[in-house]
Subunit: 200 residues, 2 copies
Amino acid sequence: MLKHGILGLISSGDKTGYEIMTVFRDSLNHFWTAQTSQIYRELQTMEKLGWISQTHVAQTGKPDKNVFSITPAGHEELLTWLRQDNLPAGYRNPFLLKTFFMGELPVQESIAFFQAFQNAAVFPDEGKQVSANAEMYKQAIHHPEKAVYWKLTIEFGRMYEKMQQEWCKYCIGELEKLQHMLDGGNHQHMPAAAKEEEAQ
Amino acid sequence: MLKHGILGLISSGDKTGYEIMTVFRDSLNHFWTAQTSQIYRELQTMEKLGWISQTHVAQTGKPDKNVFSITPAGHEELLTWLRQDNLPAGYRNPFLLKTFFMGELPVQESIAFFQAFQNAAVFPDEGKQVSANAEMYKQAIHHPEKAVYWKLTIEFGRMYEKMQQEWCKYCIGELEKLQHMLDGGNHQHMPAAAKEEEAQ
DNA sequence: TGGGTCATGTAACCTGTTACATGATTAG
DNA sequence: CTAATCATGTAACAGGTTACATGACCCA
């Protein structure tokens, strides 16, 4: 997958490993990440596969660099990938995994986690988005039709964040109901963990 | 992460590797997956870490089994994990990665992908959910306070799917606008890839 | 003189996927 | 008779993370 992401980036203009890293960091970070260690490794195997080619460029005042270009075979591979398996796949969500087991903690503590989660917005606001993605905006001027796709990914981020916040609100509501139930039921203010021990 | 998921499952009752696999397959599949190969490997390392212990149980008419129980150290580890790093983290979304590069394909083709994506619901409907999660419902009867957390994860799945469908609708709308713009603009019906070649 | 940017990578490790391998019992 | 369920794993590979290592230039 990362190979194809890199391929896509190089397809819109030759790039160094370093430049690829900056695009991941500044523009794709809300749906994909990549460390330089992984990028340089993938570039090597992609060259062996014949998808990209390398040119050494000597520089003065700056370290020399290796610029990568896409080959015809690489472009074909990119198109094949774009047309393949475009159906929703299972996603991995660490916070949901925790949620599933949160019954081990006192309800009050769980509520606090949802509150913190709700207030921690990952997605930058409109203003920051613009400056962080200056690179993308520049491209958008020259290829407005390609910028549309980039905007679609940003909109996904926004919608996801909004949904996540609504979900947190719902969770907090449900947990408060549970808390009142437990309080009203036995007036013992016992955390779930303690209750379980008793039950055994 | 998987280690802690397994730990959580064993904490609510001793389990074999096989049983752990079935829970992942039937109840956690919308936010986490695990193959038996991985499960048995993790169980081995978890035993070495002292988080779980193993008992061999001979059976007649069925293959013998290895039943795993959580140790006090394991339960502590579970609590530590539950309290750690509970903030939204970057997620990886393969379809968003593709979306980002979809300008390489004709607009019409992209629209078709979003339509297919929209109509492919991963999340089972209420009826199937109930039968697939019979195990969970059984637990819910004995520990209604724990069932709440399980319901929260299901609600996330529902909200996510709804959001995804809305996003697809939005994308299709934007792409249709783009299509009309391109059609109206030069009346050449050129795919983006061909246009790019011309521009160079 | 200290931190940021540009620029390259290696090594070890951890996690996840795919493919393979075995074999008895039970229900249709 | 055949497919599903119960039950165990190994081996090889692919993909991702963490830590380390180097070094010049520029700006404050």
